[in-house]
Amino acid sequence: MLSAIVSLFILGLTLGGLLGLAARYLKVEGNPLTEQLVALLPGSQCGQCGYPGCGPAAEAMASGTARVTICRPGGRAVAEDLAAVLGVSVDMAGVEEKPLLIAHIHEQLCIGCTKCFKRCPTDAIMGANNMIHSVFTDACIGCEKCFEACPTECIEMRPLTATLQTWYWPKPLALTAG
């Protein structure tokens, strides 16, 4: 009886110790590349890329299973930075395909429930209890979190229209080989 207790105790102690040592010395380091990528991503955890947040997306990009162009709020600038870090060439054709959609609140339908602005990762919605909410288009990144939260479906995702300040000439049409 006593010998069984002692032997099991010693066994447990040794194996536990070994496990502890293994955890300390054989630890798998987090991919440092992932951290670098996370620092480049917006960090809004908006999930537009299809991953639960910026961390998992960065992991997927570091392991090569996701393209660097998946971050929609980041757009071209972020894609280029990511490509530079990963040392891959980036095909920009896919980035501009979907224009950025900005939330717009239809004021007739808004009931002032504050659900949307609580979820906005960039504080782009202003409002208060029983007051009509409004969107700062400059700050909106088009993550659609508010769109999903609105109980009255008063939020519409609209493409951002150009203004005189942001409009510029399109690229001249392709020429004959030159």
Partner: protein
């Protein structure tokens, strides 16, 4: 006076004979005026009138917003019939906030309009403030608020005021006519601006294809020894601010800097005239002289129009089209922008409306680049347009920037001389716009990061405060319990 050589440039047929002999006429009052609130570089003005309100000529209808902006005034007396959006005087065809005014036909100035007897008795700051309040912007086409430029003396050591009467764009004759007909008023405005800037040396630069303007300005300036008239050789783009200063002083403006960096401020004669009117009579900027010309115009003219007049009204006054124009341009043929329709209103920066026929427009298809180097010789900025265009076409904008894309002034000399009719300057305009858009995207990115960090910190702080409050309540409850137990036991 001694002139210095500038690099490159082209000699297009100036076609000024079409309108140069036409004296400035005043356009009759149109039925409606559409006055855009964004007629300048900078933040749009915010409307100060409501629908149905009656205004007198010169009444403020929109306030300037922010440091770089300009107010807008009622061009005539009448009733505001709308504050909404209307197609802009811009190639994009986009709409901008616009005030629509129905003239009452009286053209009655507001009672508050009052001039200054002696502008030279005012403080320079006061003059700049009056110029700013009059809504005066650079009338050469850049539409930079003139008051901001008059205040440059606070930041820079200025010594010379250059008046840019080069008018190097073909067809345009509005500055030419203004200098001929209003020489004394222009000189007065120039002297007021020089006083406000605190400079003593004034150079009025006029190209040699305008001998009458040179003569008129020489006569008007004869009493003022500090004013020099420079006779510039006729070459495009002599009127580019930086090249003009180089031709006059021999000094080159630093890349992406201002001419103020080398002590020179450049203004347009039409701006000087507007300053004269604003200071002597108190008139805000509500009208400008514009050249209507081109092969498709029945009767080319120089017309003084109220801001907000539709291009169509202006064209009607000039007899309409002889043939359907191939291109309708705002500004000159070299740097002008196509107008999306004739509905758009005239704005502070529009110095010309050109209706060009097929023979005046290059409609030939582009051919491959033969690397002849004509564009390199024509480029006034010393760039290599063919290389820039190749980089831009390949989507390699960073490479184009390294080659000096941002030093391109968009004068179009390269595209003008290109024997293959390549849209060179069009490539650069696109590339500059794209680079600016990327800059904005980057800025939004950093802003987004900042917003997210602030939000995270705030939420953290709220939770921390909640935890602390809970802990404090718990401590209080415990203390009460203890006290109760102690009192019970005693």
């Amino acid at each position: 006076m001694q002139l210095f050589n500038i690099r490159g440039g082209v000699h297009p047929d100036d076609c000024k004979q079409l309108a140069a002999h036409q004296p400035i006429e005043t356009l009759p009052l149109p039925a409606l005026l559409h006055i855009p609130l964004q007629q300048h570089i900078g933040a749009p003005a915010s409307p100060a009138v409501r629908r149905g309100q009656r205004v007198a000529k010169g009444d403020l209808i929109a306030n300037g917003q922010g440091a770089i902006s300009a107010p807008v005034h009622a061009p005539t007396s009448g009733r505001i019939v709308g504050v909404g959006s209307y197609p802009a005087h811009h190639a994009s065809g986009l709409s901008v906030p616009t005030v629509t005014l129905q003239p009452d036909g009286e053209d009655r100035w507001a009672d508050s309009i009052k001039g200054v007897a002696d502008p030279f008795a005012l403080e320079p700051d006061d003059i700049a403030a009056r110029v700013g309040a009059a809504g005066i912007v650079g009338l050469g086409g850049a539409t930079f608020p003139a008051a901001v430029k008059l205040n440059l003396r606070k930041k820079y050591q200025l010594h010379t005021l250059v008046i840019n009467g080069a008018e190097c764009e073909p067809y345009l004759t509005c500055d030419d006519r203004l200098m001929r007909e209003q020489a004394d008023a222009v000189i007065d405005g120039i002297r007021i601006m020089a006083y406000a800037l605190g400079v003593t040396r004034i150079i009025i630069a006029i190209e040699n294809n305008k001998p009458e303007a040179q003569a008129a300005m020489t006569v008007a300036a004869s009493q003022h020894s500090n004013i020099q008239i420079a006779h510039l050789p006729t070459r495009y783009p002599m009127g580019s601010e930086k090249h003009l200063v180089q031709a006059l002083t021999g000094q080159e403006t630093p890349a992406r800097g201002l001419t103020a960096d080398i002590g020179v401020v450049v203004h347009n004669p039409a701006t000087a005239f507007a300053v004269h009117e604003a200071l002597r009579f108190g008139y805000p900027l509500v009208a400008r002289v514009v050249t209507v010309s081109g092969g498709a115009i029945q009767q080319p003219r120089n017309v003084r129009v109220l801001l907000g007049t539709r291009v169509q009204d202006l064209l009607n006054y000039c007899g309409g089209f002889t043939v359907q124009p191939t291109q309708l341009l705002s500004g000159g043929p070299m740097m002008g922008q196509p107008l999306p329709s004739t509905r758009v209103p005239m704005v502070k920066g529009s110095n010309g409306v050109l209706a060009l026929t097929a023979t005046e427009v290059n409609t030939q298809p582009s051919m491959p680049c033969i690397r002849c180097g004509s564009c390199i010789q024509a480029c006034p900025c010393g760039l290599v347009p063919l290389d820039l265009a190749a980089h831009t076409r390949a989507g390699e904008l960073e490479g184009a920037v390294k080659l000096g894309l941002l030093d391109c002034i968009g004068c179009g000399s390269c595209a003008y001389v290109c024997p293959s009719h390549l849209p060179l300057v069009q490539f650069f305009n696109y590339a500059k716009g794209e680079m600016a858009a990327r800059g904005r995207a980057k800025q939004k990115q950093t802003e987004t990061k900042r917003l997210i960090e602030q939000r995270t910190a705030r939420i953290e702080a709220i939770q921390q405060a909640k935890r602390e409050a809970m802990a404090a309540r718990k401590r209080e409850a415990d203390a009460k319990k203890k006290a109760a137990a102690a009192s019970a036991s005693s």
